[in-house]
Symmetry: C2
């Protein structure tokens, strides 16, 4: 069964297909090529598993494809790796109308998308996410970027794909640690805007960890539906879209502070979300029972509920590079209740430091 969502952005609208066996569905790929030529960007882990199948489907769709295989991991989300994509694009004489296909997780999607945004000032691209995190979050909505040593996703573009093809069968080969990391972003949707989904997750977290296909399909579908609604309302993050960053300002500080790739993004988001919950409690918005309810769910998902001990000052220094900072003041996504997030500059730095201290 295939579920199809439409991300409705006028002439830049695109379908998000979610289901089993989609890698073999040439019919879903075929309508989205301006030119019958593609460069597939993947990594050393994913390519041996799925590249041949995707390229076979492209061939059936009449699309000639080349591939570039990048090293795997967040620490490679750099300009140096991005340049390998540009070299491959130029080496294969890819044109403005050639399509770039990103086959992999969040790092591949972010870099592939940013390369597509910049190559010849913009070429079409398609997301084929193969991790839970990329299927529920990063492949949808057009945020692309690379990291800078001082800040995660600091250099990038808003650039929408033409198609997202999320084959949930690929989750069967995902390491447990990455499955759990993806659940952090799934839980996020429940916490920021979907209390019914939060309850469903509390009832079904074990099935998700056991990779029950129907449960995974539902989690991906509800997550993407939430994401699509937010992106359609606020593509460029002038308002509501910032709420998707619950836990991310703290989390990005963890990732940059430890060195990219030490903690997975989802792990850092889980610990960062607990810091945000703790701060929301300090502000009197959540009670300690609600903080404990968050903690329990992350713990059941096998995710960290405390950050590393970088020191509050170092956390705050790193958080100052956050893209939501305005007029020098940190703006954070906090929880007014479970299922209702808000972007606020209300928290004093002393309270932010206290929340970090309590959770690191």
């Amino acid at each position: 069964m295939i579920q199809t969502l439409n991300l409705a952005l006028a002439e830049r609208s695109y379908p998000i297909h979610i289901g089993s066996g989609l890698l073999d569905r040439a019919d879903l790929l075929a309508p989205h090529f301006r030119q019958k030529k593609a460069l597939v960007v993947s990594n050393e882990t994913v390519a041996p598993l799925y590249l041949a199948r995707l390229q076979a489907s492209l061939k059936v769709a009449g699309v000639e494809s080349f591939a570039v295989i990048l090293p795997d991991g967040e620490r490679y989300k750099t300009w140096e790796t991005l340049n390998l994509i540009f070299d491959a694009l130029l080496g294969a004489h890819c044109e403005r109308a050639t399509t770039l296909v990103a086959l992999g997780g969040g790092v591949i999607g972010d870099m592939g998308g940013f390369a597509a945004a910049c190559y010849q000032r913009g070429m079409p691209f398609i997301q084929v996410p193969t991790t839970l995190l990329s299927q529920v979050d990063s492949s949808v909505g057009g945020k692309t970027a690379i990291n800078h040593p001082l800040g995660k996703n600091m250099i990038g573009a808003f650039y929408q794909p033409r198609l997202v093809l999320a084959d949930i069968d690929t989750l069967s080969t995902l390491p447990d640690r990455e499955l759990r990391a993806g659940l952090a972003e799934v839980i996020k949707y429940g916490l920021i805007r979907d209390p019914a989904f939060l309850e469903w997750l509390e009832s079904n977290i074990e099935q998700l960890l056991a990779r029950d296909p129907a449960s995974l399909a539902k989690a991906v579908q509800v997550s993407c539906a939430n994401k699509a609604e937010v992106v359609v309302a606020d593509e460029r993050e002038s308002g509501e879209r910032a709420l998707l960053n619950l836990g991310h300002t703290f989390g990005h500080a963890i990732e940059a502070g430890l060195g990219y790739g030490k903690w997975l993004h989802g792990e850092a988001v889980a610990a960062g979300t607990m810091m945000a919950a703790e701060l929301s409690c300090l502000l009197g918005w959540l009670d300690s029972g609600e903080v404990a309810r968050c903690e329990r769910l992350f713990q059941r998902a096998g995710l960290p509920v405390r950050g590393p001990a970088l020191g509050e000052a170092r956390y705050i220094e790193l958080m100052r590079h956050d893209k939501k900072v305005a007029e020098g003041r940190l703006r954070l996504v906090l929880l007014q209740s479970l299922g209702r997030a808000v972007l606020t500059a209300d928290a004093e730095e002393s309270a932010i430091a206290e929340a970090i201290r309590l959770r690191s």
Copy 2:
């Protein structure tokens, strides 16, 4: 006297001010800052001449500014140099709402604009062009880019400035060679779409070379008016905008083939335009008298009318990376008459090679 053109792109519209003494006009700058903070990007040649004046005007406008000074020249239009801008932006804690101001010629404007397009996925920017080439062409219309060893402007973005401030007084310090190079792009507008301007240039080329202020102001103003009309009609270059690339496919091959910076961009465009004129003649569109008329004007402007002897095969190999290539076929801007350009895939490779041979 100030001439003001409006580049009309709905909510992304912006003014282009052209005149004398504009660097000191805090009142023209002030309305365009979302936040009273700016990073000025300039180079080692321009900064000693004009940076202090611009920063003083920013201060009067209430804008706190920092500066980053890059090395000067097309060969620095690379990712490595772009990273110096990102480092400065992060070092000065620039935010999404901070403005980047590009003070310099085409290389500074292209790199500053691309940095602004990518930093935090997009920050406001302002163009303060100080060379003839950047005042008449590259500062207007939102094309930004860096070079790749295999192709000029291969990696970039369409990203519009908030303001273009063209102070023609800055042309007084421009080296003769750069003034002449700028004239190549001025002559281009006459050749592609403005026969009356072409005649005016034929009557006034000596005054322009003598830097007569009124003549320079008129040349900048008419050029910008032509550019603005084309950009408004076709911002993303799906059609008419490609005509602004007369001589550029040949010219980019010259620049990449010799190594960036050996010939100035305008010099390569002049020789490339003569190749395009020659090819237009081979196709029977121009007669030899019209080709000679082009040649005479470029020669009077002190510009090359022949390219370097790279060999036709090497030219065509380099031209294959052009952004206008479609389905493997070169598409070139050629002249149907003097004052009327067309984008065409009609020229056979043998004719293209012949035109190159005649002009190199």
